[in-house]
């Protein structure tokens, strides 16, 4: 084991909103107050109507699994100590597509619930759990 390795914690400044949500037990995505678009990954303008009137709102997290991989290699020591790592690609009911860690039992085609959890570096990461 690599003693000091932590999960990669480097993010854009906007990610703190997701981490704050995770701390309060919520999955928060940006909603455009002009056109209603829910977007992910975070941006400073709406990718549909270009408004900057965006609010971080909780979403339920219901999603469909589009694809999945089992990783046997990683560039980060933290993950190398934990291989294989299962990652899924999901589409939230609100529209956005996200990479998430997959709990056991999550498979392609499933309905799943996505949540934001704090990792060992105290940064939010998304997880999919069987519904």
């Amino acid at each position: 084991m690599t003693d000091k390795a932590l999960p990669p914690a480097f993010r854009t400044a906007l990610w703190r909103h997701v981490t704050e949500g995770a701390r309060e037990g919520e999955l928060r995505f940006q909603t455009c107050l002009q056109c209603g678009q829910v977007q992910y990954p975070p941006r400073e303008v709406c990718g549909r109507c270009l408004a900057d009137d965006l609010e971080w709102r909780p979403v339920e997290g219901m999603a469909k699994v589009l694809s999945k991989t089992r990783l046997h290699a990683s560039l980060e020591p933290w993950f190398r100590d934990r291989l294989p790592v299962e990652v899924a690609l999901v589409q939230l009911d609100e529209g956005p597509v996200a990479y998430v860690f997959a709990e056991q039992g999550v498979d392609v085609g499933n309905r799943v619930r996505v949540s934001a959890r704090l990792d060992e570096a105290d940064v939010a990461v998304l997880w999919a759990s069987p519904r």
């Binding site: 999960p7 992910y40 589009l66 694809s67 999945k68 991989t69 990479y99």
Partner: protein, 391 residues
């Protein structure tokens, strides 16, 4: 109906150059660019001052861009372009440079893609490749593009009934093409069994689905056909070029790319169709992407890739010579030079300078590009049809 594109008549592509490849290098990208420029000048029989246009592509020039390279290489060009489009860099650069020649903005443009590969540098590149990746891809296993293309591959296999054996056929054919290419890093014959037994990397991707990062450069010159003739340079001509970025953004998983949007325009401008192509060079960062290009560019129907791969001999001398120098899957991926590889190989094939096996009597070839995995797909796509120039 939009105005149709002006033709690319009168533009010549000459002097295909490859520097390297090496698995890793202690040299900078600048060194590879310098070697490439020197080779271009020597091969064309010109002097450095004749080069009045420069286009550069690289992932490892930081903190420099094409701007710094003018001072580094001692050039004073009147036309300068930096094309940071990874695997689409070659086709996009060709399009820009061809227009510069036609407009008289430059007379000889040196197009260079150069990258080094220093130990540990690949991780730094991947970890901060884009804002989206920093927040929403890299933290999920830090697997780089392998994770992204594993998702696409799995989806393709599920949706279209394609198997690992099918992708294996494409990879084995490319390795066959690579055997005679002195630049290819991987020149050991490969069997379907080797492919199937390779270790898993990001399932369903295994080791032989993934390109090997390396150092190297690819380069060519763009000038008028008149200039190429007066210099006595064999050259390729440009029949058509298209590009499209962030195509089909609402597809949750990208099973098609910008080629599907631009295919009609591409063939219409060239006055040619898929059946007229004597060879095809696709961007092969992963076999699924090569197949996607073959489908989207009309060599087979979408979803019929499995049957196509079972029935079609993709080796040089076969039904449809594809990635005739072995592609990146055999040559290695020298960063942005990987986005030039197919184009430089096409120029070789059309000017009788094949480094490996020549496609007998090739008159027309298609090159396509795919670059920059910003989130869940590459955003830049392009394609070009080239022809054999008259001496």
């Amino acid at each position: 109906m939009a105005r149709s594109m002006e033709s690319f008549e009168g533009v010549a592509l000459t002097t295909p150059v490859t520097i390297g490849y090496e698995r890793t290098s202690s040299h900078s990208a600048h060194w590879f660019a310098g070697k490439a420029l020197a080779r271009l000048i020597e091969a064309a029989g010109i002097v450095k001052a004749d080069v009045d246009g420069l286009a550069m592509s690289s992932f490892t020039l930081q903190p420099d861009t094409a701007v710094a390279m003018t001072a580094y290489l001692g050039l004073s060009p009147r036309w300068l372009e930096h094309v940071p489009m990874g695997g689409a860099s070659g086709v996009v650069t060709l399009r820009r440079a061809a227009r510069a020649i036609q407009a008289g903005d430059a007379e000889i443009v040196a197009c260079i893609a150069a990258d080094t590969n220093q130990p540990g540098a690949f991780k730094d590149l991947v970890a901060d490749f884009s804002s989206f990746s920093r927040d929403a891809v890299y933290p999920y296993g830090a697997a780089g593009p392998n994770a992204v293309f594993a998702m696409i591959t799995r989806c393709y296999m599920d949706q279209f009934g394609i198997t690992r054996e099918d992708f294996g056929r494409l990879c084995v054919a490319q390795r066959q093409n690579a055997l005679a290419n002195p630049h290819a890093l991987l020149r050991k014959p490969m069997t379907l069994d080797d492919y199937l037994k390779a270790r898993p990397v990001a399932e369903p991707l295994h080791l032989l689905d993934c390109v090997m990062p390396c150092a190297g450069a690819e380069a060519f010159l763009v000038m008028s056909t008149d200039r190429a003739k007066s210099l006595g340079l064999p050259h390729a001509t440009v029949k058509s070029v298209v590009e499209r970025h962030n195509a089909f953004p609402d597809d949750p998983v990208p099973t098609r790319g910008g080629w599907a949007m631009e295919r009609e325009r591409l063939y219409e401008q060239a006055g040619l169709g898929p059946k007229d192509m004597d060879f095809v060079e696709t961007y092969d960062d992963y076999p699924v992407i090569a197949l996607m290009q073959l489908e989207d560019l009309g060599f087979c129907k979408k979803g019929e890739g499995a049957a196509f791969l079972r029935e079609t001999d993709l080796t040089v001398g076969g039904d449809l010579p594809h990635n005739t120098c072995g592609g990146q899957l055999s040559a290695g991926q020298a960063g942005a030079a990987g986005g030039y590889l197919g184009l430089v190989e096409a120029i070789r094939q059309l000017t009788g300078q094949a480094a490996g096996v020549a496609v007998d009597g090739a008159r027309f070839g298609l090159v396509s590009g795919y670059g920059m995995v910003i989130y869940d797909r590459c955003l830049c796509t392009g394609a070009a049809i080239l022809g054999r120039g008259e001496a």
